[in-house]
């Protein structure tokens, strides 16, 4: 089994940390969308 998460440090905006109650996700290229109930839908940019 590959477990990359155990050794790769990642960066993420605080915005995602403040997000709660996520119902759905879609990823397209460098964009990631999260559906957050009454907080609306948030669009994130991903860097690889």
């Amino acid at each position: 089994m590959i477990v990359l998460g155990d050794r790769l440090p990642d960066l993420m905006s605080d915005e995602l940390r403040r997000t709660d109650t996520v119902y759905d996700i879609i990823v397209s290229g460098s964009h990631l969308y999260l559906v957050c109930g009454d907080k609306g839908m948030k669009c994130f940019t991903i860097s690889y």
Binding site: G5, L11, T21, Y23, D24, I26, K42, F44, Y48
Partner: protein
């Protein structure tokens, strides 16, 4: 003579070590490490929030992308098609109830609309101007359900009965598939290989099932997953899974291994998974 023998020994040793190095390099590139390097490319190094779509008083349930790059949102009382590049609403329509999920299939959008004790699969044109009912499913409780549509097949999750329901795109019932060891199946994705991915937020798992009626499990991932909700598959087959509590995004390999989980978010935005 001694010098000649020494050179032969050195040459022979060099050939062996070179062969070994080549072998190691070959194994590294061609062997198991190719999947690791592929997985590395899939792991986001930075995620930043750059826009937000929000309507006061509305509750957002689902998101999907249309073939022309627009974002389709299902919420309570409304469906919206959003042009993310221009931050502009392209189309919008009112609904009675909660649009738990909406997916594109060909020239139509298919939605899972929950109202009272009934889930209705509805079908729109791209401009959301015309709507017809594909199928109505009575529910015991106000459960949340996602749908997926692929070619001429619709799948709906039913957490009351721990199963998925399969219909044709015209609403003809095909079969129920009882999901083994399921508790509250929610997110669903139809796959190319007559299988379906199902997230189960009560069982803390994502499972790949066969859709042939046997409900046979192809693989199950419950490694570190907590309250998985929606899921999507990118062009390389890697699976992104959202988490109900919002502090994690899971990335699974096409074989169902949990690759990364963002779980330790700091005030500076740094995260050590």
């Amino acid at each position: 003579m001694l010098l000649f023998v020494s050179r032969r020994i050195i040459n022979y040793t060099y050939r062996i070590s070179t062969t070994c190095r080549r072998q190691v390099k070959k194994n590294t590139v061609v062997g198991e490490f190719s999947s690791v390097s592929m997985a590395h490319k899939m792991v986001p190094s930075l995620i930043t929030c750059n826009s937000l779509l929000k309507t006061e008083g509305k509750y957002y349930y689902s998101v999907n992308l249309s073939a022309d790059g627009h974002v389709i949102c299902g919420m309570n009382g409304k469906v919206k098609v959003w042009d993310a590049e221009k931050s502009d609403i392209k189309y919008s329509t009112r609904v009675e109830g909660h649009m738990h999920d909406i997916k594109e299939n060909g020239d139509h959008l298919y939605g899972a609309l929950q109202h009272d004790d009934q889930l209705t699969v509805v079908r729109y044109d791209r401009q959301l101007t015309n709507r017809d009912t594909v199928v109505s499913i009575p529910y015991k409780t106000n459960q949340l359900s996602q749908i997926d549509v692929r070619y001429r097949e619709i799948v709906v999750t039913d957490w009351d009965n721990e199963l998925i329901k399969l219909y044709s795109s015209d609403g003809e019932f095909v079969r129920d598939v009882q999901l083994k060891d399921a508790k509250q199946p929610y997110g669903v994705r139809l796959m190319k290989d007559d299988c379906v991915l199902v997230s189960d937020w009560e069982a803390d798992s994502v499972t790949k099932y066969k859709t042939d009626g046997s409900g046979e499990i192809v693989w199950r991932c419950d490694d570190r997953l907590r309250y998985p909700t929606g899921l999507c598959v990118n062009e390389w087959g890697f699976i992104f899974v959202s988490c109900y509590t919002g502090d994690k995004i899971y990335l699974l390999s096409p074989q169902g291994n949990c690759l990364i989980t963002h779980c330790q978010l700091t005030k500076t935005g740094c995260v050590t998974a």
